[in-house]
């Protein structure tokens, strides 16, 4: 009896494997989609520094200071400047073909010297919220740097009388003035992802999403296909137990998914220079997550009557995962109820644990919760699928 089991189980695994290799469309999908998606998503989320944002720079002031500031701005690589002089209404961004307009108003240079500085005007394209905020930041930074530069020049050229005068100020008050004149800074040390590479943040998302997008729909049609074809009844009449059918069906997909993981992680490593310093915990995580995904597919499959239903349910299930799994955007800002929902998805736990291992080099106890969730998820979905298998069409 015990000797028979592996044979029967292997025969169903082998049969399932033949189904996969006979369907060249699916096979093609399996081997081209993961690398293509990885490249596309990797580059989409690579997110380097802001550069060459088309912007109009209009100097209405034409003072020595404004020209100096214009020259200073032109050294900044974030912008591709279109210089303008003279006055006039601010042009529409879309018509001008730019993402921003920076206007140095007339009298700006004078204001700097008269003690009444006038603000520089900027009109930015808000359709892309990320870029507009970044452009604003870069502008602020540039202006700040320019101010410091002018201050340093002013200090260097300070007349001797002024210095003499300064010596008469009480020392502690004089120090205070010097202090407020200097730029106060924060010395930041970023840990876990010191280079702040966004690709390192999204890698688990790419790996996980890829696995889920491929395995859940593929798995979801395996049992429904048998149910539709009437082969499920035949299968249930063999000596195979329900758990053997479930495990046997999963085995070839487990193997294929392992290849998919290797391809995706290999690409992110060599192409995007993502490092995986602790591979073994990652292997464990991938394995558990994979079981969870395959289990979910099986569950959908055992639950549905037709392949069309299975595919539809899979799509509805996968859609909310993309924004809610924390793969591409942090979960902390989500409202509590939505966050609770996000915690239901295995991908959320996979992404968190993956980052803890790969970026934070966290100890095992930090991963325990996520690992437990993934293990329980796999167990629950497999058991439910095996139980639902008996629900054959009457």
């Amino acid at each position: 009896m015990t000797l028979r089991l592996p044979g029967a189980l292997l025969s169903i695994a082998y049969k399932e494997f033949i189904h996969i290799i006979r369907d060249w469309r699916i096979l093609l999908l399996l081997f081209t989609l993961p690398p293509a998606f990885t490249l596309i998503m990797g580059h989409a989320f690579e997110h380097g520094d802001l550069s060459d944002v088309p912007t109009i720079l209009r100097n209405e002031d034409d003072s020595a200071e404004s020209r100096q500031f214009v020259d200073f701005l032109k050294t900044n690589k974030a912008f591709a400047w279109k210089e303008e002089t003279g006055k006039g209404p601010i042009p529409d961004l879309l018509h001008a073909g730019v993402q921003g307009v920076v206007v140095i108003p007339s009298g700006w240079g004078k204001g700097l010297n008269s003690g009444e500085p006038i603000p520089i005007q900027a009109v930015l394209d808000g359709t892309d919220t990320t870029t507009s905020a970044e452009v604003e930041g870069v502008l602020d930074q540039a202006l700040g740097a320019f101010q410091i530069k002018l201050r340093d020049e002013m200090v260097d050229n300070m007349p001797d009388e002024m210095i003499e005068l300064g010596k008469k100020i009480p020392e502690d008050f004089r120090n205070k003035i010097v202090s407020t004149m200097a730029q106060w800074t924060v010395k930041t040390e970023i840990v876990y992802n010191p280079k702040q590479k966004f690709i390192d943040f999204v890698t688990p998302g790419i790996v996980g999403l890829m696995l889920q997008l491929l395995t859940v729909p593929l798995m979801a049609v395996t049992i429904t296909r048998e149910r539709e074809n009437g082969t499920l009844s035949q299968l249930l009449l063999t000596s195979l137990r329900h758990w053997e059918i479930v495990v046997g069906k999963v085995l070839p997909y487990l193997g294929l998914s392992a290849i998919v993981i290797a391809v995706v992680m290999g690409l992110t490593h060599w192409h995007f220079e993502v490092n995986f310093p602790r591979p073994w915990p990652l292997v464990l995580l991938c394995f558990l997550f994979l079981l969870c995904s395959l289990g979910l597919g099986l569950l959908i499959s055992a639950f549905c009557d037709t392949q069309a239903q299975a595919v539809q349910i899979t799509v509805f299930f996968l859609l909310p995962i993309i924004p809610l799994c924390g793969a591409f955007a942090p979960l902390d800002q989500l409202p509590d109820a939505i966050r609770a929902l996000a915690e239901v998805f295995p991908l959320t736990h996979f992404c968190r644990a993956f980052r803890l291992v790969n970026l934070a080099n966290a100890e095992f106890r930090f991963l325990l919760g996520d690992i437990a969730y993934l293990s329980l998820g796999a167990l629950a979905t497999f058991t439910a699928a095996a139980l639902l298998l008996r629900r054959t069409q009457s």
Binding site: I18, H19, Q234
Partner: protein, 314 residues
């Protein structure tokens, strides 16, 4: 070999199989006849342990069909009504898969597959995809798959549906051979010529077993005489006779209209005095012997007046 004792299946308060009692001897071919929806498939599914009986019980070789359903599986093969094999697997792969899944020893699978390929005349097609086979070959492959673990009992749910007469004949030859080998067969069918080939037939109607007998004896269940008429034009005649009070039904058989009535001789006398259908031309009459189809029609359409009154003994 197979014993059913007051077996019932109730779906939504409706008895699909109603207190079915039946016993099938080893080595016999039992034909389960009945119109669509009579409960034949449900009976087979219960026998296979795929559907749980609502009440009653049944045994195959002494093992309970539900309580021992995993154990009893090794002793029967099942050929479903619809082609239920993997179309993207070859003939050999299908057989090998079911062999492995049914627990046939690894060392024996190859020889068993060869033997079955030969037996079902599929050796030439062994590397063809199952989906590409013709209807007759598909059925033979289904049969081979059902036999892979050499079961003592075989359940066949309308094995010849959709086959032409030549292929039906081929399949029945195979079934005969199996029966000669000592296997017990339970076959459901719509075809009366097939029913005649069974060692025993049972009529199932609305879940109830109405009659059970040897094919040659079951014809005696039709106790009335059968009158056949030649009337032109045929179709209006059929309609008119069908609506005549006292006539239970009429059917067309090789150009003759066959009448089902408890006392057809009375009608004949009356018509010979006066033919009531002036628009129809009556040209002749004769007496016929009831065959399986007449008995089937009488049972399934409830022509109680023409049937022998008796209780079915399980």
């Amino acid at each position: 070999m197979i014993v059913l004792n007051h077996l019932s299946k109730i779906y939504d308060g409706m008895a699909v199989v109603d207190e079915l009692c039946l016993s099938v001897e080893k080595g016999s071919i039992f034909g389960l006849l009945g119109p669509n929806g009579a409960g034949k498939t449900t009976t087979i599914r219960m026998l296979c342990g795929l559907t749980r009986p609502s009440s009653g019980h049944g045994t195959i070789g002494g093992m309970d069909i539900w309580k021992n359903r995993y154990k009893v599986r090794r002793h029967f093969g099942y050929m479903a009504q619809k082609f239920s094999l993997y179309p993207d697997l070859t003939v050999t792969e299908n057989l090998r898969f079911f062999g492995g899944a049914c627990g046939v020893e690894r060392t024996q699978i190859t020889s068993r597959v060869c033997q079955l390929l030969e037996q079902t005349d599929l050796t030439a097609k062994k590397d063809a995809m199952a989906g590409s086979l013709s209807g007759g070959m598909k059925q033979r492959l289904s049969l081979a798959c059902a036999l892979i673990h050499d079961p003592e009992v075989l359940f066949l749910d309308e094995p010849t549906s959709g086959l032409d007469p030549v292929h039906r004949q081929e399949l029945w030859t195979l079934l005969y051979n199996l029966s000669h080998e000592g296997k017990t067969l339970l076959v459901t069918t719509h075809y009366m010529d097939e029913a005649e080939r069974c060692t025993e037939v049972g009529f199932l109607h609305r879940g109830k077993l109405l009659a059970k007998d040897r094919p040659d004896l079951i014809k005696d269940h039709y106790r009335s005489k059968l009158l056949e008429l030649q009337v032109e034009p045929q179709m209006p005649a059929l309609l008119a006779l069908n609506q005549t009070p006292g006539i239970l039904g009429a059917s067309l058989r090789s150009g003759w209209i066959r009448l089902y009535a408890s006392h057809p001789e009375k009608f004949l006398q009356e018509w010979q005095r006066q033919w009531p259908f002036p628009a129809l031309q009556w040209t002749g009459h004769r007496w016929a012997t009831p065959d399986m189809e007449d008995v089937f029609r009488a049972y399934s359409q409830g022509f109680d007046g023409v049937l022998r009154e008796e209780e079915v003994q399980p």
